[in-house]
């Protein structure tokens, strides 16, 4: 007997194909584009950034806004934010603690 277990994140990537990178780099998002209202941010490493589907609890959300886990190429990166923005070649996230900037070196929002 073979077991095929599909994780919720795999199912999410099937449901929302835009969360994963295209095969080749076709576009780098300009500065000052933010999610929302844009759907995705694509950086120079062809990483696709967007907001996930599950709503964060109120204690982890910026006041007055829905917040969601940040997805990078369809995987959560352990940060909850209501907005993403690309500025000066960096991806920033608006979290309950204010703006945090993605560090490729540390592989997390700082």
């Amino acid at each position: 007997m073979s077991w095929e277990i599909e994780s919720q994140s795999e199912a999410l990537r099937k449901l929302l194909p835009f969360v994963t990178p295209r095969k080749e780099q076709v576009h780098i998002t300009e500065s000052y584009i933010s999610v929302p209202p844009a759907l995705i941010i694509t950086d120079e490493y062809n990483q696709v950034w967007t907001l996930g589907m599950s709503v964060a609890p109120q204690g982890k959300s910026p006041d007055g806004e829905f917040a969601f886990p940040i997805l990078r190429n369809g995987f959560e990166v352990d940060c909850i934010a209501s907005r993403l923005e690309r500025r000066n070649g960096k991806v920033r996230a608006f979290t309950r603690d204010g703006w945090r900037t993605w560090s490729n070196r540390f592989n997390s929002f700082m």
Partner: protein, 162 residues
């Protein structure tokens, strides 16, 4: 906890006709629907272009669509009260409209976006749109000016049953 579902389509060629519904969900009589998210994007063009988008209600005659069954966002939930259908009738959902439908449309939310970046609508808690059970109209995601580039579009809406 309310149950959440997504009605979406991926990698479809959409109609260039103005006022076409790309996603349409019509509440049935059993529960109201609270709309939490809408999105639209394309992968067919690498040329920067602006596109209009709108959340609109439409009464009968409804648009003709491709039947799309709502997907569960929590896999433990039962199937949605909404079922897939091509007619846009009460209690059904569909995507990628092919016929506009003569019913009057009323805009709730109008916006524009660059097709390279896609469009995401995430209302604040006070801005969510609720369609009551037994409503005469459905809510849809429309391209009011027609698509500037038609291939390889994805889009959808999520809602909670209340």
């Amino acid at each position: 906890m309310a149950r959440s579902y997504a009605v979406s389509f991926q990698n479809q060629t959409i109609s260039a006709t103005a006022q076409m519904a790309q996603v349409f969900v019509n509440p049935g009589t059993s529960c109201s629907l609270e709309f939490l998210r809408g999105w639209l994007s394309q992968a067919g063009s690498t040329t920067s272009n602006m596109e209009s988008v709108a959340l609109q209600t439409q009464v009968t005659a409804f648009p003709t669509l491709t039947s799309t069954t709502p997907a569960k966002l929590n896999f433990l939930d039962p199937a949605s009260q909404i079922t897939g259908a091509t007619t846009g009738a009460a209690g059904t959902s569909g995507t990628v409209g092919s016929v506009i439908g003569a019913g009057t449309k009323s805009a709730v939310y109008n916006d524009n976006f660059n097709i390279l970046n896609g469009w995401l609508w995430v209302p604040t808690p006070m801005e969510t749109i609720v369609m009551n059970a037994g409503a005469a109209s459905g809510l849809g995601l429309y391209t009011p000016a027609g698509a500037v580039s038609t291939p390889s579009w994805s889009g959808g809406m999520t809602y909670q049953e209340r």
